[in-house]
């Protein structure tokens, strides 16, 4: 497998690795994938009172492309509204990272992670 | 075998081209990766194989995806015949009567498995007999294989015309071009073949590498099951060094083909004329033949005895094909041409290559003359 320079960069120097405390205010978590399939992504968003995503964190179990996809997403979502974040499409991620066809599923998973995190946020806030 | 011996058995195998050897050496040295490995060494090997595939394809007028690498010509011929047969119901298979054993024997194997086999006869000049050919096609054979140029006689068949006829009859047409490749101009696509066999070691490449060219629209079952190399058509770890050598050899052989063919054809004529002057019969002399091959016999002189004496005199030539010389009995090729068995037993093959010059041929003819004279006097004595 030959990786693009951008994948290698995100893989070597992943951005925004880590976790927020689950109960911290404005934090939402999306966990997608399954260990048996070879990739699990956890994406956390920290949403400000103004509705903008202030910060993001990720942890990923998966191949280099999966790590790079989630790292990239944490950069992209910052400063966006939830709806803007939902507008990020897997094709954009795949294009930015020049993913080969066999790795497109990594970008799909990253898009799913955004959806899951946003859904988690909305669920929590509906409950409130 | 002495260092100054003259090698005149290029149809059995050709010396390895030194340029080819240099290209191969890194691959039995520092670059030893398995082309299926995911790491850098594996990728290097994979890239080298694909470059070799492109070279072979370009040299033979095929697309790289039409090249299936094998361990040699025998495997490629087996792969074609058995691989196509495994895909269909048993029907007719037709092959030339003078084919190499690696076509004849798989065809006979198919016959044991329920296929009807037609071995198409040849005329006394070695060309496929037109009536026998028409009759074979009338059976609507699924598979037809006719060799491009014969390894013993050097006789060249009109492959373009045969391919067109076979295609019109709905057959899948293959040609074993092991002896023709690099010696004659040939173009896989332009010839309209379904498949064609190539070998590396007849053209200055190493033994252990060959290819089946297979038209993209064709499908066949693999001979070797396993790791799925060669798009599933030929499993087994690739012989990287040999394939690299094959690629370079193919490119070089085709680049010098036209000039070499002209040069060797002139030598062949000189050789044949001298042999006839010594009283030899040159087989298929009037037929279109490979530029490098002269196949002849002296009546009353055993071919095996003659090549043995020539070998001691420092000239390596063949008596029949290398592959079948392990078997006793006269050449099936000459038998098919209707040559009398007494004469066929005298058969000697001279096959030349890029190291062969006028000096070697003159020396060979002189040595031959001495030995023929000696053998004739021996025969005269023993008769008394």
């Amino acid at each position: 497998m030959t990786y693009s320079d951008k994948v290698l960069d995100h893989y070597e120097n992943p951005r925004n690795v880590g976790s927020f405390a689950q109960d911290e205010e404005g934090v939402a978590t999306g966990m997608v994938g399954a260990p048996a399939c070879g990739d699990v992504m956890k994406l956390q968003l920290k949403v400000g009172r103004d509705g903008l995503i202030e910060d993001a964190r990720f942890k990923t179990y998966g191949c280099g492309s999966a790590i790079a996809s989630s790292s990239l997403v944490t950069e992209w979502v910052k400063g966006k509204t939830l709806d803007e974040a939902l507008a990020i499409k897997n094709s954009q991620i795949a294009e930015e990272l020049a993913l080969p066809p066999v790795k497109i599923h990594c970008s799909v998973l990253a898009e799913d992670a955004i959806r899951a995190a946003v859904a988690d946020y909305r669920k929590k806030h509906e409950e409130q | 075998m002495s260092d100054d011996s003259v090698y005149l058995d290029w149809n059995a195998t050709a010396p390895l081209d030194p340029v080819v050897r240099e290209a191969m050496l890194p691959w039995i040295g520092a670059r030893f990766g398995n082309a299926s490995s995911g790491h850098e060494r594996g990728r290097q090997a994979r890239a080298a194989i694909e470059a070799a595939r492109e070279r072979v394809a370009a040299a033979a007028g095929a697309h790289p995806t039409e090249v299936i690498f094998t361990s040699g010509g025998t495997e490629a011929n087996n792969l074609f015949l058995k691989g196509v047969a495994a895909h269909g119901k048993p029907g007719w298979v037709a092959v030339g009567a003078t084919e190499h054993p690696s076509v004849l024997e798989p065809a006979r194997q198919l016959a044991r498995q329920g296929w009807a086999l037609r071995e198409i006869g040849v005329t006394e000049s070695g060309a496929l007999d037109a009536a026998a050919w028409r009759e074979a096609l009338a059976r609507r054979p699924a598979i037809v294989s006719v060799m491009f140029a014969n390894n013993e006689t050097g006789v060249v068949q009109d492959i373009a015309a045969l391919a067109a006829g076979a295609r019109a009859a709905g057959a899948c047409f293959h040609s074993d071009a092991v002896q023709a490749f690099g010696r004659l101009a040939l173009d896989f696509r332009a010839l309209g073949l379904a498949a064609m066999t190539l070998s590396a070691h007849k053209i200055g490449g190493p033994p252990g590498a060959g290819a089946l060219l297979l038209d993209k629209r064709m499908d066949l079952a693999p001979l070797l099951a396993g790791g799925g190399q060669e798009r599933g058509l030929r499993s087994g770890t690739e012989n990287v060094a040999a394939l690299v050598g094959f690629g370079v050899a193919a490119e070089r052989a085709v680049a010098r083909q036209a000039a070499e063919a002209a040069r060797l054809a002139a030598l062949r004529e000189v050789c044949a004329a001298r042999l006839v002057a010594l009283g030899a019969t040159v087989f298929a002399r009037d037929a279109e033949r490979l530029p490098n091959t002269v196949y002849f016999a002296f009546d009353g002189i055993d071919g095996g005895t003659l090549v043995e004496r020539l070998d001691r005199a420092g000239f390596a030539c063949g008596s029949g094909s290398a592959c079948s010389s392990a078997r006793p009995g006269a050449s099936h090729v000459l038998r098919a041409m209707g040559v009398a068995p007494e004469r066929a037993r005298g058969a000697v093959r001279v096959s030349m290559g890029c190291d062969t010059g006028a000096g070697e041929i003159a020396a060979f003819v002189a040595a031959l003359a001495r030995n023929v004279a000696a053998l004739k006097s021996l025969a005269a004595v023993s008769v008394c």
Partner: protein, 403 residues
């Protein structure tokens, strides 16, 4: 000075030993004859070299040279042995037995025979990768004609009890084939004593060149095969095709060297493997796949829990290793061998095969261990699974979203 990348993938292929290369070179230069040429010294010279190589291959495994057939490699040997015996003895029966952890060259050959109308049993292995003899015995039927079990597994290095399996086969008159591609020069093989009928060998796994292998075909009691490659009748009609002299000479020399040096080499390689094992065992949550006792000295297959295999490979690209078998590593499927051991998919995904060899050094092993320690740590910092495990969450209890 350490040269990178460090090669720890000797089961994919080995470097050609420089002494083997040196033995091959004359056959790539002036000694180019076709060994089938009976009419001149070029041919006899090549034929003599081929026969000497045959003696060397036979000697390593306690065979008679007449029992050795040259092929293009172990894949062809496996195909010839299994199809050849199944076809020849088809009147005896059409049931085959093999094991789920065999090499693809065996599994796919058996599958092909199934398409021809044979039936087959693919045996499960125990958790340690070894065949259970009771399970094996129970799988045999009156119409079982051929059994194929490998000696040393290519992925996990375990050594199957072929002596016991062979004895059972011999007792029942079943032809027994053993794929020894990964075993020659790595474990003792004495075919004078082993009840094995057919055995496949490869040159390029034992410091010889690619493109050549051999099949042992027992003479007493005689085993018959139907040829699979037809033509000029080389190799006593069992395998037609011009013999590649330089490659055969290379295999002969490689096997000769293996015979001479095996005892010392195995002790050295085993010590290095144990050094690697000790280093890796010091890393938390690592699991060795396959039995450690019944195992070839050069192999270590380890799962690094909570880390995905490909990203680990990428992180440790200074060491050339494989994740699963070289022949299947292009696929995204976890190794079928590890799955047959009952490893969960995620552990199968995170497995790395380290295979050591003649040119491996202690310095290289130490470097590899250090690199693994650092990179495994880094990837676990990135891993949500590791985080959950540290928090005491049982990953099996988590409902993963299907994807």
């Amino acid at each position: 000075m350490l040269k990178l990348p460090i090669y720890l993938d000797y089961s994919a292929t080995t470097p050609v030993d420089p002494r083997v290369t040196a033995a091959m070179i004359p056959w790539l230069t002036e000694r180019f004859g076709n060994p089938a040429s009976r009419s001149h010294a070029f041919g006899w010279d090549a034929e003599a070299a081929v026969e000497e190589a045959r003696e060397n291959v036979a000697a390593l495994v306690g065979a008679d040279p007449r029992e050795i057939i040259w092929t293009s490699g172990a894949t062809e040997s496996d195909n010839l042995a299994i199809k050849g015996a199944a076809h020849f003895y088809r009147d005896k029966g059409r049931h085959l037995v093999t094991v789920k952890t065999e090499h693809k060259a065996v599994l796919d050959t058996v599958r092909e025979l199934e398409r021809e109308g044979y039936t087959a049993t693919y045996l499960d292995v125990r958790e340690n990768g070894l065949v259970d003899l009771d399970v094996f015995r129970a799988a045999l039927r009156p119409d079982t004609s051929v059994v194929s079990v490998m000696l040393v597994n290519n992925e996990i290095g375990v050594i199957q009890p072929i002596e016991e399996i062979g004895a059972i086969c011999r007792d029942k008159g079943i032809v027994f084939h053993v794929d020894a591609a990964q075993a020659a020069g790595k474990v003792d093989i004495d075919l004078k004593k082993l009840p094995v009928d057919l055995m496949s060998f490869s040159a390029h796994k034992t410091y010889g060149p690619k493109g050549v292998g051999a099949l042992y075909v027992r003479r007493k009691p005689r085993i018959r095969l139907q040829a699979q490659m037809h033509g000029g009748g080389h190799e006593r009609g069992l395998r037609s095709g011009t013999l590649p002299t330089h490659q055969i000479v290379g295999m002969g020399e490689a096997f000769r060297l293996a015979r001479e040096e095996m005892a010392d080499e195995l002790a050295r390689v085993r010590a290095l493997r144990d050094r690697l094992l000790a280093g890796i065992s010091a890393i938390e949550a690592t699991y060795v796949n396959g039995d450690l006792e019944h195992r070839a000295a050069h192999n270590l297959n380890v799962s690094f829990a909570y880390i995905e295999g490909e990203s680990l490979m990428m992180a440790i690209k200074d060491i050339a290793v494989s994740s699963g078998s070289a022949c299947t590593s292009a696929s995204l499927e976890p190794s079928y061998v590890l799955r047959a051991l009952g490893r969960e998919d995620e552990l199968a995904h995170s497995s790395i095969r380290f295979t050591l060899g003649r040119f491996t050094t202690a310095e290289e092993i130490d470097y590899a261990v250090e690199l693994l320690r650092a990179k495994v740590g880094k990837l676990r910092d990135l891993s949500p699974l590791w985080e959950m495990a540290q928090a005491g969450i049982d990953l099996d209890s988590v409902q993963w979203a299907a994807h």
